[in-house]
Symmetry: C2
């Protein structure tokens, strides 16, 4: 497993898609421990990231890698549909390697199999890191994640795309603000790019899904007080529940935060499958986890992005908390305090 | 996906491990649709399979492939610890290829990457088939398994190694005895070797686990009346639950048979993890499946292999049926009738 050097200087490539369709670039700008020194986007060059979204820092946007300041790493912060490599990016990647930057990508297209890049990277002594490719040394879980000397929190969901990664990242940031040594444990491609390390559990052989989570927890667990594991999918998802279940048992979490999107009634992309009531999710996650490691839904995170009126959004959060029987928040809209109180309130 | 030609003549290699440690060889002898014309085992050569186990046919055992009758396929029916290839088998594999037999194996060692075998197979126009290697064209589930024109039954378990494959195979055989067109759907290496086709769900990328099950059901579903899907692991297994969950949601079964081993109190190999009560498994499997496809535990299968006295074994089966609130049987010891009645009784 790669654990990135903290304090690296990063350039993020986001041609043509910044910020709306550059989820990875935005995530890295908001949450990465490393310093982002520039965004490369030919469409918005000359502006700064904060011009486009108030929650982003004033990082300059430049038209090409050639125009970027000194850096240690170029990170591909966009993922075109299909995961291909856009040939218009080739000069930027070439320049990065020639300037002795490592190149990090999460594409289906494997940079470390591109003949030109491999030869150039060899010549300049830099690394081409494809984060979609799982560690080849993974194995089955030993059921030992609970031995780590840290509290383990897992964000679980009622569905895909309800904000489990964002909630985990916001909880880590909020816990750190309170002086808690919290660590984000990524399980998906975007989270891995943001954190600079991690196993993409969705790409791991099914037998090793829990083991790949356990490996991460045991690697970083003793160095922190709180591990916030990024959940994936949903335990009742027609396609992705295997990943969810492997993470639940592999992480052996002490507490769960149940993430949901306000108004979501059916599984995203599987509209014939209705979501069960929130209370049913609480029962399912807790009873499924318990034989391996007792856990509890201690809070809820509601994504109210689809609700314009603030009063309505607050009412939706209150209703969600009632349904859960636990505190809830929209961590992006209203902050993570209510959840952090439930998680680390006593510390 | 490979669907084997029925009616092939098969030679099964089982050097030094027949029958006790040759699970695949025994399974193929008992359950395969193809005809086994010989077992290759230098230790028991000169006897017949029925001499060693009363439930096996009188297939001759020969000392080498060179001594075997005409065949279409050599199947490696033993799996040494670690999954390696025993070099003492090389002459048998070489002879098989020279005799224009396909060679089928489920080893970690990949036959189709062995230079000598590849060259020889090319020369003789035969196939080297490694069943551990998943189909490269798998994708995510579409949630459409329930559309197949067949009843779908899934064997689920309280743990690993409780007999889910054997129960599925026995149920198929018993249903066929009653005139039901039943089909075994394999999900693991041994089941795949026995059936001659299938996806090894434990080796599939976690995101595609459910999809790999769905692909099988949609391929064979409309050709049969009853599909009996081989389950894997357990939904509360510390390492393998991802595979179990992917199969549960990918298969969208109409009915479940809960398999258990009498006396098993903790997860095999994870002795600190106690098995929940049987009724808890029923709740978990049913409530986890329901949002995707409603299902019900209609019967139980108890492996009483660890109980010597027949009266005690019958009592254990009766207790298990009581705990389940459903009919139960030890399908190997007492036959599958009680379960088949519950599954296809009305047909």
């Amino acid at each position: 497993m790669d654990t990135a050097d903290r304090g690296e200087r990063i350039v993020v490539l986001a041609h043509g898609q910044f910020p709306e369709r550059a989820k990875t670039a935005v995530g890295v700008l908001k949450y990465a421990d490393s310093e982002v020194v520039a965004v490369v986007d030919r469409d918005t060059a000359g502006t700064v990231a904060a011009d486009h979204r108030a929650d982003l820092p004033a990082v300059p946007i430049v038209e090409s890698m050639a125009a970027a300041p000194d850096a240690d790493q170029l990170l591909i912060g966009v993922a075109p549909i299909g995961g291909g490599f856009d040939e218009s990016w080739r000069p930027d990647v070439r320049t990065a390697i020639e300037r002795e930057c490592d190149v990090v990508a999460g594409l289906h297209y494997v940079l470390s199999e591109d003949e030109e890049f491999v030869a150039l990277a060899d010549e300049h002594g830099v690394e081409l890191r494809d984060v979609r490719t799982p560690d080849p040394d993974l194995g089955v879980a030993e059921g030992r994640s609970a031995e780590v000397d840290a509290d383990v929190l897992l964000t679980v969901g009622t569905d895909c795309s309800v904000g489990k990664m964002t909630v985990a990242l916001e909880l880590v940031a909020a816990a750190r603000d309170r002086g808690v040594d919290a660590c984000f444990v990524p399980t998906g491609q975007t989270g891995i790019m943001i954190a600079g390390w991690g196993n993409p559990i969705d790409r791991v052989v099914a037998d090793f899904a829990a083991g790949a989570v356990e490996e991460m927890l045991r690697e970083v667990g003793d160095d922190h007080d709180l591990l916030v594991v990024e959940g994936q999918g949903s335990i009742v998802h027609p396609a992705y529940s295997a990943v969810t279940c492997g993470i639940l048992h592999g992480a052996m979490p002490d507490a769960l935060v149940l993430c949901h999107a306000a108004g979501r009634a059916a599984v995203h992309g599987y509209e014939s499958v209705s979501l069960p009531p929130v209370a049913a999710y609480v029962d399912l996650y807790e009873s499924l986890a318990a034989p391996v490691h007792e856990t509890e839904v201690v809070a809820g995170a509601l994504n109210t992005g689809g609700i314009d009126a603030e009063g309505e959004a607050r009412a939706a959060v209150a209703d969600y908390a009632d349904a859960l029987g636990a505190p809830a928040a929209d961590v992006v809209r209203f902050g993570a305090d209510a959840i952090v109180d439930a998680v680390v309130g006593g510390e």
